[in-house]
Point group: C2
Chain length 428, copies 2
């Protein structure tokens, strides 16, 4: 039903133009009738359909990314500039109430990703009620907002879901060097909000939290101010806070074969409810940037196995030249993370740089909020991280301080579908 | 010498075009000679000169804002989208070393605001030394970066500066309702970095901190993801996290008379070293957004004294209609903050929304990082905040949790000038 191989057939890409709807145009307090009409018309707006095949034309600033598809948007979608990520705990044991929340969330996500406000806009007539939308994104463009939901291992302890937990959703082992803060780890659910305008991403998470009041509460959240990976190979490779280009050899949203091989859960993988989904590993990686900044250029380049300016692998001239791993030091990061050093293990990276104030010692609390999607955590992040944790030269300058893993269900197919239906509907 | 009335004469505004230099083009490891040539040519790039008169054309994304001028950029300059603000403590009592740092910082700021890397780019030949620039902004546009320095009251306890402390730089009183965290308050120095790309702002603060290593350390810092005020009256008024338009009647960067009256320190104000400068009040204002979001639209609009959709004052139709204060509730925020309720007190607001994860109780740690510039703190922020703290209906939904005040010296006049020269040079 959600065979990833079918998705390309349904792909329609259209350039989101300057005619993309403004949130201001689509909703207004005190102008409910008008707003409703405009919102309905919004369905005709040019959008980018997601699926296996993602067109870099979707990178148009201000446009909307299609919410529906075989896969959730926000994975193979061209990486947006900013992130707001939230992990939630479930506070209710009422299964029906939780399923209703998933439906309500889906409807809100459908509207917000299209650049619309939450609710039907009838604010003018309901002065005595709280507004359906908190309002701070009114007037802002859709900004390529994507909202992606994931289910953590602990969710499967609830609602009689124990037998539904995928084998591929393993608890991560404790890696050498981990220094995990439980207040920045785990979670029954997650929402990944990516957008080119951070206010649009923050607005989306905040409104989902508001809708979930009494049923779920935010366990931890993370703002990412700059993307560190790209899924569009022709785009400029972004730099991480160590100043190096990151994700040069990342899986591109256009590489259908590699996505099917390494990212999307296939029909034969099981469980059936996860077909078309993926698994997400989130790691908060603190960088000791003050130490790094006092390290010589040569040491920095040795640590990565690439030169800092161009990003070329050791001994090569250009960023995208094929790396010759044996020319790098045995503990070089690029060498250890390379599929050839990990029996082919490959993950789709989607991380963001963060800066969260200071640590009380005069240092910035800054680093990489690492996000990686994969078809099976046991064949993706775990073997790669085992190798890195063992001997990566970079370990002297970083520390993993937060960790979570989530099963990311397949996409919402159409306007009648909802997040998590394949997990919950058989028993509902 | 820095009479603000003269500044308009020196104003040159030019639209920063798509030809604005890319940081990538201007610097490169391993290509030092080329990079130097390009950096030198950067001087000819179209820029926006700051002074009293600021042209909204400077709002062009990607352009550079001129660093030199009678006033520091980043005050009357059209408000950029993102903020990284850092307060520093001074760790040295060596006056000469501190003055040298101010000179080094000035040179770095001059380069970074022009879209260049720190240092002369000769990285290729110095593999054994740490790079002069941390690198994460290479390839990014200047992004209208402005860097603005301020001196806190505690700085005047050092370096024999006691007699130089301006009378207008008072310690703020404790206001009713304040719940200040000393770890988010005060500071000997501050750097306000504003840019349309947050990575450019973060890069700038991080590199200044790096250059200051051993002499200064970051006391606290704050990322602002979205502007909440505009200094360009024709631009769309941004919304704060309460969903209301903020700063509708803010002082515009083009209002030379109001800037001279309310923002710039005049020759007769004294001390002489502050002529052309201003005073900055920074307040971290936590919003109880979860409570706010469960408040009726009517209550929200009563609290502000404006309608939520259009932003019109009570009883008026349009956002920019003149407010009729008596039509508002006596405790309405707009009424109490209005100059007519404060003997004409007027401040230039430049605040940003923040979201710093969660508070451990399932709530977002979100709110407004309030920044306001004024000619005299005693006639600006203090009377307004006294009035608000006393009875503002908004107080039920907000709390001030951080506070700082800084004397912001005049602008760096030319390539031989440096931050703080008017304060330090007479005795140097």
């Amino acid at each position: 039903m959600t065979d990833p191989q079918d998705a390309t057939e349904g792909t329609e890409t259209a350039r989101a133009t300057a005619a993309a709807p403004s949130r201001r145009a689509l909703i207004g307090w005190g102008g409910a009738g008008l707003a409703l009409g405009a919102a309905a018309a919004g369905g005709a707006v040019a959008m980018t359909r997601t699926g296996n095949d993602v067109d870099p034309a979707a990178a148009e600033v201000g446009g909307a990314v299609e919410f529906h598809g075989a896969h959730q948007a926000g994975i193979a979608t061209p990486v947006q500039d900013r992130l707001h990520f939230a992990a939630f705990d479930v506070d209710t044991d009422d299964r029906a109430a939780f399923v209703q929340l998933l439906k309500d969330w889906t409807e809100a996500a459908r509207r917000m990703t299209a650049g619309r406000a939450v609710g039907e806009g009838a604010y003018g007539g309901l002065a005595e009620a709280p507004p359906d939308d908190t309002g701070e994104a009114l007037g802002l463009k859709p900004s390529r907002l994507t909202l992606t939901i994931g289910f953590g291992p602990s969710l499967f302890e609830k609602f009689g879901l124990k037998d539904k937990r995928p084998a591929a959703l393993v608890d991560l082992p404790q890696f050498p060097g981990d220094n995990l803060d439980k207040n920045r780890s785990g979670g029954d659910l997650c929402i990944q909000a990516c957008a080119d305008d951070p206010q649009v991403a923050v607005h989306a998470v905040r409104n989902l939290a508001r809708i979930g009041f009494g049923k779920v509460s935010i366990r931890w959240s993370q703002l990412g101010f700059g993307k560190t990976s790209s899924t569009t190979p022709d785009a400029q490779t972004p730099r991480n806070l160590m100043g190096f280009k990151d994700g040069t050899r990342n899986i591109a949203g256009t590489e259908t074969d590699r996505l099917a091989k390494f990212v999307w859960v296939g029909e034969k993988d099981g469980p059936a409810w996860m077909t078309g989904g993926s698994y997400l590993v989130a790691r908060r990686i603190r960088m000791h940037i003050e130490t790094w900044d006092r390290t010589s250029l040569q040491e920095q380049e040795d640590v990565f196995g690439r030169d800092k300016g161009e990003g070329a692998p050791v001994g090569k001239a250009k960023e995208r030249d094929e790396p010759f791993l044996k020319a790098m030091k045995p503990d070089a990061h690029v060498r250890l993370a390379h599929p050839d050093s990990n029996n082919g293990a490959t993950i789709l990276r989607r991380g963001y740089s963060f800066t969260d104030g200071t640590d009380g010692l005069g240092r910035l609390d800054a680093g990489l909020f690492f996000l990686a999607y994969q078809r099976d955590v046991r064949k993706g992040f775990i073997p790669v991280q085992r190798n890195l944790a063992r001997m990566d030269a970079l370990n002297e300058y970083i520390q993993h301080v937060g960790s979570a893993v989530f099963a990311v269900p397949p996409g919402v197919r159409d306007s009648g579908d909802w997040w998590g239906r394949t997990l919950f509907s058989e028993e509902a």
